[in-house]
Amino acid sequence: MRDERPISHVSAPVLALLALGLALQIGLRATAPEPQAKAQDLSRPPAASLLRLASLGEPIALAKILMLWLQAFDYQSGSKMPYRELDYASLEAWLARILELDHQGQYPLLAASRLYAEVPDETRQRSMLDFVYRQYLRDPDRRWPWLAHAALLAKHRLRDMDLALKYAAALQKFTTVKDLPAWAMTMEIFIREDMNELETARVMIGGLLASGRIADRAELNFLDKRLREIEERLKRSPPEKD
C-alpha cells in the first residue's frame, strides 16, 4: 500500500479540473460518430510479402486478426443483406491473402461458403463459390467440407446442377482422406441421379461398393437399395443419350 495522503488533501481546483476533464472527455467521445466499417472502405489488400513483414514473424496471428477485421465489414447483426455492398473482388483478395498467411486456417473458407456465398445475388454467389473451388484444389484433404457446402449451394440455391456436379466430382476425385464421410463421397452419384444420368450413377455406385471405401453396414445397405432402384428406373426408362 502506497503512503498517500487522504483525498481531503487534494485542493478543490484540482478535483474540479479532474471532474471537468473527465466529463468533457466522456461527452466528447459520446458525441463522436460511432466507428463503422463501411463496404466502400474495403480496399485491395497489400501483397502477401508485405503482410508477412507487418506480422513481425507471426503470420498466423495476423491472419486470425485480419479475418475478424474483415468479418466486421458490413456484418449487421441479424442480417447478411449488406454483404451485397461489398466489393467481392477485394473481399476475395483479402480471403486469399489470409489463407496465404495461414494456409491451415479454415475460417476464410467457412466465411466464403457460409457467409459471403449466401447473399441473394447470383453473380456474387457464383464468384464466391468459384473462390472456394479454387482454394479447395490447393489443399483438398483439408478444405473438402467447404466445397461440399458449395456443391449443396449450387444445387439447391443456384439450381445449377452442372456446377454442383463439377464440385461434387472434384470432391470425389481429389479428396483422399480416409475419413471422408459417405454423404460427401456419394454426392456426385446423387447429383447425377437427379440429372437423370442413371447409367453413370449406377456404374459409380457399383464402383464405390466394389472399392471397399464404404465400411458401414447401414451405408452399404442404403447404397445397395439405391442401386437396385436405379436399375429398376433404367429398365422402365429409355436409354440415356450420350
Binding site: S11, V14, S77
Partner: protein
C-alpha cells in the same frame, strides 16, 4: 506562478538538448529517408506515395517511442537524484512543478513534431504536411501528458513505459475493437456479446481517438476536413486537461 513554471520548463528543455534527443531524432529522419530512397528504386509506381506513407508511419511511431522514453527516464532520474524532493521542499507549489515539467516536455514534443514533419515535404504538398504535423504535435502532447501521469504514479521505468505503450496501442486500435464487438454473430443469443460490447464502449469513452489522428491518407490522398481538425484540437485539449487533473490529484496525495 509563471516565474516558477518557466525555469522548470527551460531546464527540462535543456535536458532534452543535452541528452542528444534531437540528434537521435535527426538520425531517425536520415535513416527513414535512406529507407525511402531504397523503396523508390524498387517501386514500379506511386513511389512518391509509398515514400510518404512509410516515412510518415516510421517517424510517427519513432516520435512517440522517443518522447515517452525521454519523459519516463528523465522523471525517474529526478526521483532517484532527489531533485523533485529538493524542489518541492522550496516554496514551490506541486502544481507549479508539474506544469513546469509538462510545459518543458510539451516543448520537446513540438520540436520533435516539427523535425519529423519537415522531411515529408519532399513527398507531399506543404499544406498537407503542415496539417499532418499539427496532428502529430497533438498526438505527442497527449502521449507526453500520459507518460508524465504514469511516471508520477508508478515511479518505475518499466511499469511506466509499459503503461504508455499499452495506452497508445489501445487508443490506436479501440475503434477496430468497437467495430468487432458491435457486430456479434447473429445466432449468438447470450448476453455475453452485449456485455463485451458495453465494456469496450466504456473503455473507449476514456481513451482519446488516436486512430483518427495523424493519418497517412492526409498526406497522400486528401487533407482532412475542417471539422475533423477542430475535433482533433478539442480532443487534445480535453485529454491533456483530464491528464493534468489526474496527475495533479495523484501528486497532491503523494507523501515524500
Amino acid at each position: 506562478m509563471l516565474r516558477h513554471i518557466l525555469p522548470i520548463a527551460r531546464y527540462t528543455l535543456l535536458e532534452a538538448l543535452r541528452n542528444r534527443l534531437l540528434w537521435l531524432a535527426l538520425i531517425l529522419v536520415v535513416a527513414g529517408l535512406a529507407f525511402t530512397q531504397f523503396l523508390e528504386r524498387v517501386a514500379i509506381t506511386e513511389s512518391n506515395q509509398i515514400q510518404a506513407a512509410l516515412l510518415a508511419a516510421l517517424v510517427r511511431v519513432g516520435a512517440v517511442f522517443m518522447l515517452a522514453s525521454f519523459v519516463v527516464t528523465s522523471m525517474v532520474r529526478e526521483f532517484n537524484d532527489k531533485v523533485m524532493e529538493l524542489l518541492i521542499s522550496r516554496p514551490l507549489r506541486r502544481s507549479s512543478y508539474f506544469l513546469g515539467k509538462l510545459a518543458g516536455y510539451a516543448a520537446v514534443a513540438l520540436v520533435l513534431a516539427l523535425i519529423f514533419s519537415l522531411p515529408l515535404a519532399l513527398f507531399a504538398t506543404v499544406p498537407r504536411v503542415a496539417l499532418w504535423g499539427l496532428s502529430l504535435a497533438c498526438e505527442l502532447l497527449i502521449v507526453t501528458a500520459f507518460a508524465l501521469f504514469c511516471v508520477l504514479s508508478l515511479t518505475q521505468v518499466m511499469s511506466a513505459l509499459a503503461a504508455v505503450a499499452g495506452f497508445y496501442l489501445l487508443s490506436r486500435s479501440i475503434s477496430a475493437l468497437q467495430i468487432m464487438a458491435a457486430n456479434p454473430l447473429p445466432d449468438d443469443p447470450g448476453a455475453g456479446p452485449q456485455l463485451v460490447n458495453f465494456i469496450i464502449d466504456a473503455i473507449a469513452l476514456l481513451l482519446p481517438d488516436l486512430d483518427r489522428m495523424t493519418q497517412t491518407g492526409w498526406l497522400i490522398y486528401s487533407a482532412p476536413p475542417a471539422a475533423e481538425l477542430v475535433r482533433l484540437l478539442a480532443q487534445t485539449a480535453v485529454y491533456v486537461l483530464l491528464l493534468c487533473g489526474a496527475a495533479l490529484f495523484d501528486l497532491q496525495r503523494k507523501n515524500f
